[in-house]
């Protein structure tokens, strides 16, 4: 089974518009995290939402989590050209202390100036 599938795979919007990306997962989780990756670069942590939380905000980012549907969404408001990147959800579902992440396949966001 595949954990952490995002949709859409690609999203192209105009600057100033909102961008919404969705993530679905299959197993129970401790938390869900969203990361951003600029082309050829590393993963930058954006936001973490715990399994007992339903919504979280950080600046222009809003994340929701529905554990009954095993899904999450990331909303970027008032997008900028600099938001162009790939966005990945990652689930922390390990029962042990290592807490490795399982990543989705990502959404490629393009914000047009």
């Amino acid at each position: 089974s595949q954990q952490g599938e995002e949709d859409p795979q690609a999203l192209s919007i105009q600057e100033g518009e909102n961008a919404t990306m969705n993530c679905s997962y299959k197993t129970s989780i401790n938390n869900l995290q969203w990361y951003r990756q600029n082309s050829g670069r590393g993963l930058v942590h954006l936001i973490l939402i715990r399994s007992n939380e339903r919504e979280k905000h950080s600046g222009r980012l809003r994340v929701t989590l529905d554990t009954s549907k095993k899904s999450s969404s990331l909303l970027i408001t008032a997008s900028r050209a600099a938001d162009t990147a790939s966005y990945f959800c990652a689930t922390d579902g390990a029962s042990g202390s290592a807490r490795q992440l399982t990543f989705g396949s990502g959404t490629q966001l393009t914000v047009l100036p």
Binding site: N31, G42, H45, D92, S97, A98, Q100, F103
Partner: protein, 116 residues
């Protein structure tokens, strides 16, 4: 802000050769990870390391792979005899051990490994 640093940024190696990828995790972090991302694919977990030993590993992490923390700062991934399919971006990550169980992992910029 402290960062995870990885060297080299790009490594080109002949098939069958050994390669060592290096990482310096954030200094007060206690959990260390290696992930890889084959071009166009998902980021995949390889191995986690805590208290000087492997805590978990994926099926990708076979006998050709090993990790080591040779001193108080470096964390290395060795591939003993590289194959073409080892070509990927390799990411190191670290995480603190705090009272909260929910701490994000901090990633380096990765090493792009190209096997010829």
């Amino acid at each position: 802000e402290p960062e995870v640093t990885q060297t080299p940024s790009h490594q080109v190696t002949q098939m069958g050769q050994e390669v060592i990828l290096r990482c310096v995790p954030i200094s007060n972090h206690l959990y260390f990870y290696w992930y890889r991302q084959i071009l166009g694919q998902k980021v995949e977990f390889l191995v986690s390391f805590y208290n000087n030993e492997i805590s978990e590993k994926s099926e990708i992490f076979d006998d050709q792979f090993s990790v080591e923390r040779p001193d108080g700062s470096n964390f290395t991934l060795k591939i003993r005899s590289t194959k073409l399919e080892d070509s990927a971006m390799y990411f190191c990550a670290s995480r603190p051990r705090t009272g909260s169980r929910d701490q994000p992992q901090h990633f380096g910029d990765g090493t792009r490994l190209s096997i010829l």
